[in-house]
Symmetry: D2
Amino acid sequence: MPTAVIMPAPHQPLETRACEMPALPPGGVLLETLFSEVCGTDVHLWHGRLAGVPYPIIPGHVSVGRIAAVCGTVKDIEGQPFREGDTVAFLDVHGSCGRCFYCTVAKATTRCPERRVYGITFSAGEGLHGGWATHITLKPGTRLLRLPAGLDPAAYIGGGCGLNTAFHAVERAAVAMADTVAVQGAGPVGLSCVAFARLRGAGTVICLGAPADRLELAREMGADVTIDITQRGVDERLREVRALTHGRGADVVIEATGQPGAVAEALHLVRDQGTVVIVGQYTDAGEITVNPHLDINKKHVDIRGCWGSDFSHFYKAIAMLGRHHRQIPWRRLAERQYGLADAQRALEDVAALRVPKAVIVPAP
Amino acid sequence: MPTAVIMPAPHQPLETRACEMPALPPGGVLLETLFSEVCGTDVHLWHGRLAGVPYPIIPGHVSVGRIAAVCGTVKDIEGQPFREGDTVAFLDVHGSCGRCFYCTVAKATTRCPERRVYGITFSAGEGLHGGWATHITLKPGTRLLRLPAGLDPAAYIGGGCGLNTAFHAVERAAVAMADTVAVQGAGPVGLSCVAFARLRGAGTVICLGAPADRLELAREMGADVTIDITQRGVDERLREVRALTHGRGADVVIEATGQPGAVAEALHLVRDQGTVVIVGQYTDAGEITVNPHLDINKKHVDIRGCWGSDFSHFYKAIAMLGRHHRQIPWRRLAERQYGLADAQRALEDVAALRVPKAVIVPAP
Amino acid sequence: MPTAVIMPAPHQPLETRACEMPALPPGGVLLETLFSEVCGTDVHLWHGRLAGVPYPIIPGHVSVGRIAAVCGTVKDIEGQPFREGDTVAFLDVHGSCGRCFYCTVAKATTRCPERRVYGITFSAGEGLHGGWATHITLKPGTRLLRLPAGLDPAAYIGGGCGLNTAFHAVERAAVAMADTVAVQGAGPVGLSCVAFARLRGAGTVICLGAPADRLELAREMGADVTIDITQRGVDERLREVRALTHGRGADVVIEATGQPGAVAEALHLVRDQGTVVIVGQYTDAGEITVNPHLDINKKHVDIRGCWGSDFSHFYKAIAMLGRHHRQIPWRRLAERQYGLADAQRALEDVAALRVPKAVIVPAP
Amino acid sequence: MPTAVIMPAPHQPLETRACEMPALPPGGVLLETLFSEVCGTDVHLWHGRLAGVPYPIIPGHVSVGRIAAVCGTVKDIEGQPFREGDTVAFLDVHGSCGRCFYCTVAKATTRCPERRVYGITFSAGEGLHGGWATHITLKPGTRLLRLPAGLDPAAYIGGGCGLNTAFHAVERAAVAMADTVAVQGAGPVGLSCVAFARLRGAGTVICLGAPADRLELAREMGADVTIDITQRGVDERLREVRALTHGRGADVVIEATGQPGAVAEALHLVRDQGTVVIVGQYTDAGEITVNPHLDINKKHVDIRGCWGSDFSHFYKAIAMLGRHHRQIPWRRLAERQYGLADAQRALEDVAALRVPKAVIVPAP
């Protein structure tokens, strides 16, 4: 009998419950969960900061599992059927309609109004649609990928949801070979941004964040320079980035912090005619002041918002992970593991920034 | 003997003076000025709002004239020598170094630190380097173009400095066929943005500005819809733009106002995953507040600052003017003409927004 | 009782037959055909030059009709239901899978292997899936658009399938304001390329083609210069294009001819670092010789193949047509109309290039 | 007294001569040559296959040296003066005019008609303007860069002229993270393409070339798979590349061979909607046949010629070399060294493909 963690409502204690094993519809897939994760979004969910969430929910939007059952034939992108026993990951975003203006004309499926997300916008009553559970039921049409040969599921969950987000951000930043890239933030998204900026050929990667052990991890993932924001003020940080760039500022700045103030700082850290990608502002944490003359017009700068990710990011990010997981320690982001019974503690550890990410291991 | 208008210092009355005819260096060109213009930048100069201006200066950064003398051989872009009597315009930006990081690696010559501008960054003591004068002396290396056959110099000065700026802005906006483009501002830059958005294949061009007669001109230049900002509040404007775009907002917004608040409004007027170009913030007029979550990250928007213009914009903008001046009434922006002796009044008329642009006609 | 024209097999005479009115599946739409068209592809079909065609078929891939019945609710891109009596066009391409590498990762849905095309890849036994018939049954998921208000269906069919193809080609060419664009071919695709190049802001549009009346039409659709290829040899054409471009060649060349030799000529007509789009080679008409040093490497040229079109091209092309059909005489391409009984003659007239396009008017 | 190798005319034996030490003009720089190189272009020069070469010449277009004298002040891109003793490289391309259509409007300086190249388009009578000499005199305006700290000049010359060319090709290919990149050719350009494709984040890099020891070097420089073209026929190669790419072909193919037939093969190796860069066809080695329907139009492919390189490529390529020379064995391309007296043998060894590159060490 499956067991799942339920988030009944914002600020309410999590509950662990036994559930019925749901019937699979044709095209559905049942997973035994190997790992799921607790990320900043789950903290936002618990604080009630996301709109349109149908509490109670089973959290856990990015997970990896082993196929326990397939109803009918479900094929991968190459037309090969999935089999019981396959180790798979799935894109948390589901149900982009393929018919609206954003899906068909703008080709920006992450803005499709019908898009739903496992672990976030499915009610617990609809099925096992979140990863903090022994089993996950995937609806027909869910985008599944087998893990590349040799890739440990723990390394995958170390990347987790931040992997896709960071891949999209670095692609949107159009990092060019020899660029100086400043990444603001040393959480899971920031750390993967560091890794992808390095893999894409950045000349110098600078990570601005805290605490010290995450910056150590940032260096292992590819940062040439780290700046501890608890030790250096805004002016000092700016001076340091300029000193590394002949006084000009970074070619690319990627904001991955969740702090609105970082956006204003990004506009100072970037050089004239550089690029700033804003990927860390997933909830409304307040406003900032900007000087449009000095910060935008005269600088001739590009500022690019970056929301969500689509299957292409997921597909390529997993390919990169499969290729480089031996050199880049994504696995270390998955070091802190918790059972289902400890999900509340996991959530609080992430909320308190005690760990960059908490991994849920549902197996008994 | 040449006569020139001198701006001795910010807030000081303009003076009209007879000057020595300067000697031309090899490669220099002497023009008899046909028309020069008074634009918003000249008002900023008079208010002392630009840094690094070596007062006293001869204002007038964009002008058109007839070649009175060439020292040696000066060739056009096709290798044809300029001759006395040719009617020519010139790029106001001069002296980009061709050696610095911005000129050679970033390929953003408008950020070259050695760049100077006729009518702005040359002291009156250096020569006749501004257009509010009967003669202009052009330094060796100045970028000159003959006006296309059939193009009246008055139509050219009607476009004036706003022509290049607007061309650059519309190119940077990457307006696509069938896009809805909202242009904020109905001054010379905004009006030319309307024209170029139309010429580039926009589906619907909306101009938000004032007063009514400029909006009438905007419609003649290609706007399908105009919104009078003195008659409609911010919320009404937003509703109206959304009503024209199936509730989504404009595909592209081009800010050409000089008002910082317009930048914040632009972020509301644009649709998700749309593009905002900021080209109207040429001086520091203050700060705005922005919500990075709602306005940038979640919207997946592109915001692009746009500073100055280079020879490619000048070359192509003049080609477009030559091709389309019969259909698009750039000439009407040049309707208000003033002699040198009336330059003070011209400046005040522009400052008071009584005219979109004042044209200086130096000939007696 | 519906009547349809059947193409039984390559080179076999067309037949006109009464058919059963098919039952609509949920999501299906029944149209009364207003106009369909005979284009070069239909000639290829009749000559057996396309692979994978399930003869017998009802030809007619692009059509416009009036909705006679809707099974259930079918909504447009904005979520508005279609109603009986709506005048609609539909994208001939149907069934791109949304799951394969090309649909999801490469984002090139025109290369989806599951893609089918009305009037081409549906057997007559499957239903009324071609436009040379009084009625058309559209399968669930077909992409429908209402014609813009004021747009005559005859103007739409004048654009027809060439409209989408040309829109895609001009977008892929990335025509920039003031570019010189040479369009090879004065058939339906070439003529719409001329129109869209003009609407996108080309400086000079040159059309190379024949016969004289089509070149006359090309001028009405926006060509500044036409070159009759029956009057001028290859060398003369090249000299003429260079004479119009300061000796350099065109910034953009769009090949829309069906003749392989035009591709080699395009590489000579284009300037160094220019762009060539190949959109006219829809069937295998043979090989050409190219000199990779002179024609590609040293020229630093971009050559872009352009296959099919997707819903975004269809959506935007119709928007452009709705906006500009009064100025640009697309309607004139629809002047030659034929009843169903005359479909054989229509096909032969197109095959013999006696008309640029034949329009089928199925109504009695 | 300087000593230089003279190539008197095509097919004539090289001569080694003592020369006068030339006077430096203001802005000129005198180098003591550390290393110069013999590349395929030098073989072409000796075979008389390049147009416009003013024999006799001093060959050697890419070199590295130590500054022996500076006439006046010559500054680097950051404004720092060069000093005697600095170890510097220089861009072989000199004299792009900065005024023509290609320099200013098209922004394609490699197509500037006034562009000259050290070691190729300067006559020996004009000065020591080639690298096969103990000293090199650099004209005012030559683009110089100090080698990054820690970078051995031998590693730089191992990259040599192929470094810039390959950097440009990989940038023009727009290699994306996780792409499969097939590089045709295992000469200096091909090997550096392998390295840069790897550094830019390619998923799988395939090198097709010969002989076996160069393919071994390709693997050390970053190729995942090598295919020996002396062991596998064209069909086998195609099957192998398809087998590595789910039957589709490579996302990107970079042709760097000098063999026209490789261009035709590239069009088969690439997947639909992929990108082919042609960078190996620097001289006219003949024509190929292409099927425009199958190879270009239906494939929806991008083919990009790539000619020369500019200062931005040189600047960034050296930055990448400085960053990665410890991991990527560019130095090994510089293993075969020859004195000035052995230049003839060096040239013949390169012509016979006995070495990928011959390094000239002029010091006694």
